[in-house]
């Protein structure tokens, strides 16, 4: 597509142009808060659908000498009709002049037909100084939209709105760091409304971005389900000769394997974190994560984690009933229904009782020594016997997903995963709870899940993601 619209994000230096581009292009590698005046070149961020560019955002340097540019333009223009040509002439005239490099870089896309996205900081007072810039932009004759991006805590957006309204077709407020995803889409739609020819393209892009968002959630659920399966079923093994075995006490061997088991579980959880972050194109959190405070304080195995993310006995009993009933239903199937569902009932009751009485007891994995064969003996540690462990992993994973999926790419702050005060999983529909409980119980017994069971677990986890989002939303 050759007529894909281009939007040049322009403005005064350090007013959040790069933040807007970073958020809209989902690229957290765009350096933000660079020294003003040090960005000397425009950078294009195209949105490609199946490798076909649909629109391009261009991050530009800020205006450095707007009054000089305006003076030159006014000196070379005779009437309003030649203004756009005069701006183009300015760029051609000063292409090699280092003094106007920034202006040429930012005006270059505009004289080639790019739409204008003018960014201002709504947290600082309006300044008439910006009027030279706005006048130059108006001279280009390109469709324009102004964005009030509030960087600081103060709010002067009203004054900005009034001033910008005199120069731009559309004025929108948009916080690049905190705006929710639907506002990103709404903003892109607004870009499309600047010119009729762009509307369909932007609408299509918005549709695809919405689809991508939904797809990512589903993919995240699959990642979490796979990690859950791995973590629940993990067993640490070590094969020892008879002499090696004699050199170890049972306790020290158990301790050694326990440490390895714990290390593996932590690494697996970290791998899940990274996979989720990469899925949402957050590549820089990885570096920042080492500095996270929650990691050491709220470790995967800490009691705090258990208190926060574990589920209640009543929850386990209900979920256990469902899981038991599924097993008991097998008996009904064997008797071709002659048992009139008694199997399901008995299975359900047994499942509920088991989960209720044993659910809150911390059952750590224990050491198992295999049979001595050919002078070798295998020591095994794990898998975890505590079903709550699965819920701790799930709770933490869902919480992490929520933070990552709601994080804008302009965000630079540390990812702070603070524990919640109440368990949200109880709001999950019972059918999904049963599927999760059933899968956890199966993994704990090291019985692999079939494709169908794995799919059901992923669907249940996706429902858990939705439930958690709604729960966070209801909390405000």
């Amino acid at each position: 597509m050759t007529d894909a619209p281009v939007f040049a994000v322009v403005g005064h230096p350090n007013k959040g142009k790069s933040s807007v581009v970073a958020t809209l292009s989902q690229n957290d590698a765009i350096a933000i808060a660079l020294e003003p005046g040090t960005t000397r070149h425009s950078q294009a961020y195209p949105l490609r659908i199946d490798n076909e560019v649909r629109y391009t955002l261009v991050d530009t340097p800020g205006f450095q000498r707007p009054r000089q540019v305006l003076e030159w333009l006014q000196a070379h223009s005779l009437s309003a009709s030649d203004r756009a040509e005069t701006v183009a002439a300015f760029v051609h005239q000063h292409r090699d002049d280092p003094r106007f490099q920034d202006e040429c870089e930012l005006l270059g896309p505009l004289i080639e037909g790019a739409g204008i996205i003018y960014v201002v900081d709504g947290s600082v007072p309006y300044s008439a100084e910006n009027e030279s810039e706005m006048t130059i932009l108006r001279w280009t004759g390109q469709p324009s939209l102004a964005l009030i991006n509030s960087i600081g805590p103060d709010d002067y957006s009203e004054a900005w709105h009034n001033a910008l309204g005199q120069f731009f077709q559309v004025v929108r407020k948009f916080n690049a760091v905190s705006a929710p995803f639907n506002q990103h889409l709404s903003l892109l739609k607004a870009f499309g409304q600047l010119q009729p020819a762009w509307e369909a393209v932007l609408d299509q892009a918005v549709l695809q971005l919405s689809g991508q968002r939904a797809q990512r959630k589903e993919q995240a659920a699959r990642l979490v389900a796979t990690a859950l399966e791995d973590l629940m079923a993990w067993q640490e093994q070590r094969t020892l000769t008879a002499s090696q075995l004699a050199g170890h006490s049972r306790d020290s061997l158990a301790e050694q394997l326990r440490q390895r088991w714990y290390r593996h579980q932590r690494q697996r959880e970290q791998a899940l974190r990274l996979a989720i972050e990469q899925l949402y194109q957050h590549h820089r959190i990885q570096r920042q994560e080492a500095e996270l405070t929650w990691h050491s304080e709220h470790d995967l195995f800490s009691d705090n984690s258990r208190q926060t993310w574990g589920v209640s006995k009543a929850y386990l009993a209900t979920a256990g009933f469902g899981a038991g009933a599924i097993g008991g239903a097998g008996l009904d199937a064997i008797t071709l229904g002659a048992s009139l569902g008694t199997g399901a009932l008995i299975g359900g009751l047994l499942g509920a009782a088991g989960s209720y009485f044993y659910g809150d007891r911390l059952k750590l994995p224990v050491l198992h020594l295999g049979v001595l064969r050919n002078g070798l003996q295998t020591a095994r540690f794990g898998p975890v016997q505590d079903i709550q462990f699965g819920y701790v992993v799930l709770g933490r994973a869902v919480d992490h997903w929520w933070h990552v999926s709601h994080r804008n790419h302009a965000g630079q702050d540390l990812l702070d995963l603070e524990p919640t005060d109440r368990h949200w999983l109880e709001e999950l529909a019972s059918a999904y709870r049963h599927d999760i409980q059933h899968a956890l119980a199966r993994c704990r017994r090291q019985r692999a899940l079939s494709s169908d069971q794995r799919h059901r677990l992923a669907v249940a986890v996706e429902a858990a993601l939705d439930t958690y989002s709604q729960w966070r939303q209801s909390r405000g």
């Binding site: 020294e35 659908i49 796979t226 064997i334």
Partner: protein, 467 residues
């Protein structure tokens, strides 16, 4: 890759399992690319697998170990069936000349075979795996991961059982014919039930219905039935002895019709059922839904071709803030100090207040420089304070202004940049001040400094009271 749907299903299931640990973005890219490149919309799982296997250089047509195992099971059933068929027929037709081979026993056995064949088929359709634990144990011991094949066990086992049953029937028939040729078999019929020859003949007629028109000689007539009845006590009639062998065509055809034919039909049905269920499992495979979604959904790429800046800017600066001088000229750059100008910078008889930058024109800037020059020329310690808005980053226009001013003003003039916060009574934030310090540092001008204005707490309160 084999054309068999079962192989296709297994390979597809394996591929989905392998994909489980791949990054979702990679999977999407791979499958979407395949869908876009596919000619004539051939994007079915068969083409998809062939494409992946071609790319990874995997040799096609390798036999799946799990299917080979089931093939062995089918072969074992067939061999056992053939052997048992022969032994069973030898047992049924055992004749030492002292008695007769009871047709009723043979018919009962054929009925049992028929019932077993039907039970096998019903079990396959219901999906019941009463022997599932045995297979599970075997597959677990052999390290086989749980695959979609588990769900086809009832159908696979039914096919194997019917194959065994078919071989059983064939081997039984061959044994029967062989014995007919090699031995003088004496058939008769006997029953404890008080059934008369007429009634027995009637039943035989019903059984022989299927071949009545094809081979009338294989349908026992009333005379044969009457003459070949035997009892535990009593000597056989001499006429009957000659006709004892006339039963064999009936026995052979009953065997063919009620043992062989049902098995042949059911083994075909088992095969069709297996294929149908395999296709259904593939169509309903969760991996196929995900694959289709990946193929149909466009791939979105929001990144930049060029490498974006990954390094954070260096924000540290060795420059320090300096106290601002007692200056005869104060310049408000770009409207700094508007509307609240600290008293220290207001116009007095000793201090001239000028404006430049921002909304002012470039000629206004030049005029302000000239006016300041006039003031500084008579001052023993020339110094100028340039008030700026701390939150607005310094631009090249200010740089140009300072360069021009430096040319115009006395050489020793100290220029102090003084960034004011949005509320000028307070000190600007450190980040804001840092950008001004770095700006001053970049100018490499020893007579250019950055200062800060801040009201002390007591004065601040007084000022607030005045306001």
């Amino acid at each position: 890759m084999s054309e068999h749907p079962l192989t296709l299903l297994l390979e597809f299931d394996d591929q989905v399992r392998r994909d489980q640990h791949q990054a979702p973005a990679f999977l999407h890219r791979r499958d979407r690319k395949f869908a876009l490149d596919a000619r004539d919309g051939a994007t079915g799982p068969r083409q998809w697998l062939a494409h992946l296997q071609h790319l990874s250089g995997r040799p096609p047509g390798q036999t799946d170990k799990r299917l080979a195992r089931w093939r062995r099971i089918s072969f074992s059933f067939a061999a056992a069936g053939a052997l048992l068929g022969m032994l069973t027929m030898l047992g049924l037709l055992f004749y030492d000349g002292s008695g007769r081979i009871n047709i009723t026993v043979i018919l009962a056995f054929i009925l049992l075979q028929l019932l077993l064949a039907l039970a096998t088929t019903v079990q396959a359709f219901v999906g019941w795996r009463p022997w599932g634990w045995l297979v599970d144990r075997y597959t677990r011991r052999s390290g086989e991961i749980v695959s979609v094949l588990t769900r086809l066990h009832p159908q696979l086992l039914a096919r194997a059982a019917h194959t065994g049953g078919l071989l059983f029937g064939l081997s039984g028939l061959a044994t029967l014919l062989l014995l007919v040729v090699m031995q003088d078999l004496a058939f008769g019929w006997s029953t404890t039930l008080s059934t008369g020859a007429d009634s027995y003949h009637h039943w035989m007629q019903i059984l022989a219905c299927p071949w009545q028109g094809l081979w009338p000689a294989a349908v026992p007539n009333a005379e044969l039935v009457e003459s070949t009845r035997f009892f535990r006590a009593g000597s056989p009639q001499p006429i009957a002895a000659a006709r004892w062998g006339d039963w064999w065509p009936f026995v052979a055809l009953t065997w063919c019709c009620y043992v062989l034919l049902p098995r042949l039909l059911l083994v075909t049905l088992a095969q069709i059922h297996l294929r149908w269920r395999t296709r259904r499992l593939l169509l309903r495979h969760p991996g196929l839904t995900a694959l289709r979604y990946r193929m149909e959904t466009p791939m979105l790429d929001t990144g930049s071709i060029e490498e974006a800046t990954h390094q954070s800017p260096q924000l540290a600066t060795p420059a320090d803030l300096q106290p601002y001088p007692d200056s005869p000229a104060v310049i408000r750059w770009a409207g700094a100090g508007d509307p609240l100008l600290p008293e220290d910078f207001t116009a007095t008889a000793q201090r001239q207040l000028l404006s430049a930058g921002g909304a002012a024109s470039l000629s206004d800037d030049r005029r302000a420089i000239q006016q300041a020059r006039g003031v500084l020329a008579h001052h023993p310690e020339p110094a100028v304070i340039v008030l700026t808005r701390a939150w607005e980053p310094p631009t090249a226009e200010l740089e140009d202004f300072l360069t021009l001013a430096r040319d115009q003003w006395p050489e020793a003039t100290l220029i102090s940049l003084l960034p004011l916060a949005t509320d000028p009574r307070h000190r600007p934030g450190e980040t804001q001040l840092a950008q001004w310090l770095r700006f001053a540092e970049r100018q490499a001008d020893p007579r250019l400094q950055v200062s800060v204005y801040e009201l002390t707490e007591a004065v601040n309160r007084a000022a607030e009271g005045q306001l």
